[in-house]
Amino acid sequence: MKKRVLALLLIWAMVAGVSACAQAETQRLVFWHSMSDDAGRLISEYVKQFNETIGAREGIEIEAVYQGTYAEAVTKMNGMLSNGQRDALPDVLQMDATGKVSFAAAENAYTVDALLADHPEIDFSGMLAPAMANWRLEGAQLGLPFATSTTVTYYNRTALNAAGFSAPETLADIGALSVLSSDDIAVYAAVPNTPTLANWLGQMGSDLVDCHNGTEGTAQALACIENGALVAFLDAWKDLYATGALVNRSGSTDEFVAGRQLIMTSSSSSVASLLTRIGDSFELGVAGYPRVNADASAGATVSGSCLVMFDHGENRKAAAWKFVQYLTSADIQADFARGTGYLPSNAAAAESDAWQTLIAEHPQYDVGLRQLMETPDTMRSVTVGPAADFYYAIMNDISDMLENDLTAEETAELMRDDLGGMLEQYARANP
């Protein structure tokens, strides 16, 4: 009995395999993405639409493959690049900032610059400049923005208004909310990491690492020690903790939704899911990223991901571009933004009726986009080789400062050792 079931399953597998190989006429392209949940469902829908319309017309079929988180997808790409497994690489890859360095070094990367060399007529002026700039490395445009986001402040508007407070604008404003904290309710919970620390430093006009946050060369040292920016931020962070408004752990969407954490700084891409989850229990407020102090400028760096292409011959390159063009088109960008909270990456999408209707009804969606446009272009997201280690080391060192009551100066020294050491080590191994 068991054997028969197994045999049937095997036959089924073979039939499935054979039928998959039967249609060989169309160009089959592979698209790796890292979107799950609502965003993942939307991706599947877009791919299906593309295959049924443009794809059917031009003989292109896209296979969308979820590759886990960005980190997993990038790890996979690195593995293939180091083994010369060119054929195994996808045609189109959704990639976050941690993949920039290795993609730029890949022999068969089909960068946007290369695309423009092939097709000088293509015009990217419709793309939002800050979103576009985020995918430039050492002057080369690697990919096109797809899932663009920025970090914003979410707050429990109902609770804040009831106590006579308005949206917090600075860390001091958050500190003033400490009167609202209790055993059950935390005002704000956060541990700074690479992008959020870069935001606060950037507001004070400082980069986190040298080479302009690693966008113009391989970063080798911290750039925020000598100018005092890091210590200034750490002091502000300690002051905030002293008020009792800050809890020294990562923010929790669950706690926020349950009304037990009043403020959360998180990606603008969560707007849609937060609105759904909160429902009627309270009013969701969204404000710009908090400023370190009243003198600091407003803004936060771009986060999210882009689409990059790999060269698998002329025909597939052309087909890949058609697909990327489709995903970055105004219609798709507006729809994707509406369904998730990611920001529309091109001007046409931001001006579209769909988007305008949405923000008229839910102004919460608009905050991220406005912040993106207002952020000075000197504030750049951080590109370093040892991205994951760097990220967690920042969190650990700053969290330890509060836990063990170290001074800002001591912590800055520790961070210079930890983070600077990583950068040095990486620069030495990858000259």
């Binding site: 399953l9 799950s36 593995g79 180091s82 497994q85 989850r277």
Partner: protein, 278 residues
């Protein structure tokens, strides 16, 4: 009267106690199954509950199968688990046979060379193995998923221990009969070792069914992915869709649990025979 007291003391009370232990241990699994029927609203509600308001809510399971090609993942997991366990046990049994019944030059060295593999965990060899597998052109194939798990030193060790329990008399009798290796294996060793082979097969199957990191690394397409990898595809970046995740977890653990339940009798028989003693 005395008999009743004895029954209560020796059967009923320990039995109840055992079931209590079991229930306590399995509570997380139970909680997971219950949670798979909940709606998102129920998860956000306070206080948290164990039971869903209704078992009619199958949306989460539907989501699991619609969002990812779960049926295909199942098939892939099944094929790779059977393939790995079969090859691994065969390879291990061959080696165990050599060690149990032969004396040969370098025996000790080779024995410890094989046992030594247990000290080198697969996780630490991930990237280098990945390089080997990709050079062999096995990325995104069933063989590529399985091949790194073909070395089963602990299986080899257990089988050797077991083979050595074959009564000396039987073995000598077989030799006197001029019975060759094959006949000795088929007519004596195999029947005698069936229970232990079974338990090792089930264990192997379960381990491979549950493998995560390696299959994630070597598979790139939906047609090759396994269930465990599929389950993690249901978690979102914020990780807040608990009900879908739990439904996925339930679906992923079902086959191994069913296999176990189905084999329970033979496993129990094995246990009572004391087939596995380290």
């Amino acid at each position: 009267m005395k008999k009743t007291v004895r029954y209560i003391r020796r059967e009923l009370l320990p039995g109840l106690l055992g079931v209590c232990f079991g229930s306590l241990l399995l509570f997380p699994v139970f909680y997971g199954i219950m949670g798979a029927f909940k709606t998102p609203a129920e998860f956000n509600a306070y206080p948290p509950t164990v039971f869903p308001s209704s078992f009619g809510n199958l949306d989460n399971f539907r989501t699991v199968f619609i969002q990812v090609p779960m049926a295909r993942y199942f098939l892939n997991s099944l094929i790779t688990a059977v393939m790995t366990s079969t090859v691994r046990l065969t390879v291990a049994a061959l080696a165990a046979y050599a060690f149990a019944f032969y004396s040969f030059r370098g025996e000790k060295v080779l024995f410890f060379l094989i046992l030594g593999t247990m000290m080198l965990p697969a996780d630490t060899l991930l990237i280098t193995n990945y390089q080997t597998v990709s050079r062999l052109g096995l990325l995104d194939t069933y063989l590529g998923i399985c091949i790194v798990a073909f070395v089963g030193a602990s299986q080899m060790f257990m089988l050797r221990q077991h083979f050595m329990t074959a009564p000396t008399a039987v073995r000598e009798a077989a030799q006197l009969d001029g019975c060759g290796d094959l006949r000795f294996v088929v007519s004596i060793l195999l029947p005698m070792s069936l229970p232990v082979l079974l338990i090792l097969f089930v264990q192997s199957f379960v381990v491979q069914w549950n493998a995560y990191l390696w299959p994630l690394l070597v598979t790139n397409s939906n047609s090759m992915r396994t269930v465990q990898v599929g389950v993690t595809m249901l978690t979102s970046i914020e990780g807040t869709n608990y009900e879908t995740v739990l439904a996925g977890a339930v679906v992923a653990m079902l086959p191994a649990a069913l296999l176990f339940a189905a084999m329970r009798r033979s496993l129990t028989r094995t246990m009572s025979q004391g087939a596995v003693i380290g």
